[in-house]
Amino acid sequence: MTGSVTRSGARRILITGGTSGLGLAVAKKLARHHKLLLSGRKSQIEMAGALPRGAGYIVADQRDPERSTEVLLRGIRDFGWDSLDNAVLNAGVGFAPADGLDGPEAIRETLDVNLVAAMLQAQALFPLLAKSRGTLTFIGSVAHTGSATFPAYAASKAGLHGLARSLRSEWGGRVSVQVLHPGPTKTDMHAKAGHDPGRMRALFLEPGDVAAMMASAIASRRSPVTLSWLRYLSGGAYLGRRL
């Protein structure tokens, strides 16, 4: 009984940046009941064995937004999908410049990966999502209101927040658009960004808990949703809707 319910309720879900961090954590969470297609910068060989069971994988480097968008579209088609129930545009990169000023390369890479790629992919995936009245999820950050430690990263996430706000209004009734803002999580994001949070890291949430909150926020289709301690303590990782 459960098996047949699961199969008929299985959704086609694309997750970008699905090879590590929150992307991989949410993929693991959703893999039990849904069909997944993940994308990331790592090669097929590196990802062999690291993917959740049954998930497909596309190598797409978001640092080249136009090319990665083409590659994703082709990968979805080659996987045999002609529609999407969910797209989770999660790929992200951040830098913590030593003097508080990002150089041109860091600014450009941050915007390309976090915002431009997400924007072009939102546009390219729209017809696939519209076919199934699906949900487009941008993964923002609680830093979207501004940060002196990660100025360009915070700015790129503000861009996603604003893009989601306007697109949600434009696409109302056709595709649900939402932005989720996770708080600091125990992933390798900070180490990659060149920032040591020190003892503060003890206060970061576990990736599995944030992934659980992401999954229920995705099911709720609401926007914007902040995923931090406040939501965690009110049961966000255990209560709420299931996708």
Binding site: L101, L120, P127, G146
Partner: protein
């Protein structure tokens, strides 16, 4: 809406840089600064509309990374500045899915990436005089959302929040940051992107907006929201974000796509 940053009110800038100074609000800034006896450097794609005898003109297409990288050293040497206004902006309106990917990309490059790169470089190279002002021109859309101009709205949010993140490092260098959030202005830019038949007389006079924004920048305010209607909209957008975005959809998006 704003707080002082310790600048002398009514200060007169000696040397200023205005990006996108050939047209619209940028040209209004330039007119006002020249009238006050300021030396002005204008960066724009094309000198048409500019009296190059009156200003230093630097040609640069902010949509091109190569063009900006070539220009950055000249921008630094043309300083140090008392006032820099990162004003250049472009737009494309309509259904998000119908606007070309190239246009969306260009909007983010010109409106967000280029001013971020310029601001970081100027702050990093000491291209400001003591107690100078760095001004960013964002948009009222930061408070209201902008269905029909989603990539424009995103770009202006990027700019506003980047400016906020730079405040502390700029203050350590003695530079104050002001972010301006103008609403619809009576410019050719607005005319091109507003719904057909929209009433232009209700848009603010760009010269008036420029005067108010400059006054806010030079008195060290953190933000500048010129005009009463713009101010009211910004507050409403903060208090009732969903309602105001829905109103923007009715006022703009529905009329753009009909």
């Amino acid at each position: 809406m704003s707080a002082g940053q310790g600048h002398a009110a009514g200060r007169k800038p000696g040397r200023a840089l205005v990006t996108g100074g050939a047209h619209g609000l940028g040209a209004a800034f330039v007119r006002r600064l020249l009238a006050e006896g300021c030396e002005v450097t204008v960066l724009d794609k094309d000198p048409a509309g500019i009296d190059t005898a009156q200003v230093d003109f630097i040609r640069c297409d902010l949509a091109s990374r190569e063009s900006l990288d070539r220009t950055l050293p000249d921008l630094v040497t043309a300083g140090p500045y008392d006032l820099v206004i990162l004003n250049a902006g472009i737009n494309a309106t309509g259904r998000f899915e119908d606007i070309s990917a190239e246009a969306h990309l260009e909007i983010l490059r010109v409106n967000a990436e280029a001013p971020m790169v310029i601001a970081s470089r100027l702050l990093g190279t000491g291209a400001f005089t003591p107690s100078a002002t760095l001004g960013f021109v964002s948009s009222l859309s930061h408070f209201t959302g902008y269905p029909g101009g989603a990539s424009y709205a995103a770009s202006k949010d990027v700019l506003a929040v980047h400016a906020k993140g730079l405040r502390a490092v700029a203050a350590r260098k003695g530079v104050g940051i002001t972010v301006a959030f103008p609403g619809p202005l009576r410019t050719a830019h607005a005319e091109r992107h507003a719904p057909k038949g929209a009433d232009a007389s209700r848009r603010m006079d760009p010269d008036l907006a420029a005067i108010q924004i400059l006054a806010d920048m030079l008195s060290g305010r953190k933000t500048s929201v010129p005009g009463r209607a713009t101010h009211a909209f910004a507050i409403a957008g903060r208090l009732m974000p969903r309602t105001v975005t829905a109103l923007m959809r009715r006022l703009i998006y529905r009329r753009l796509v009909c």
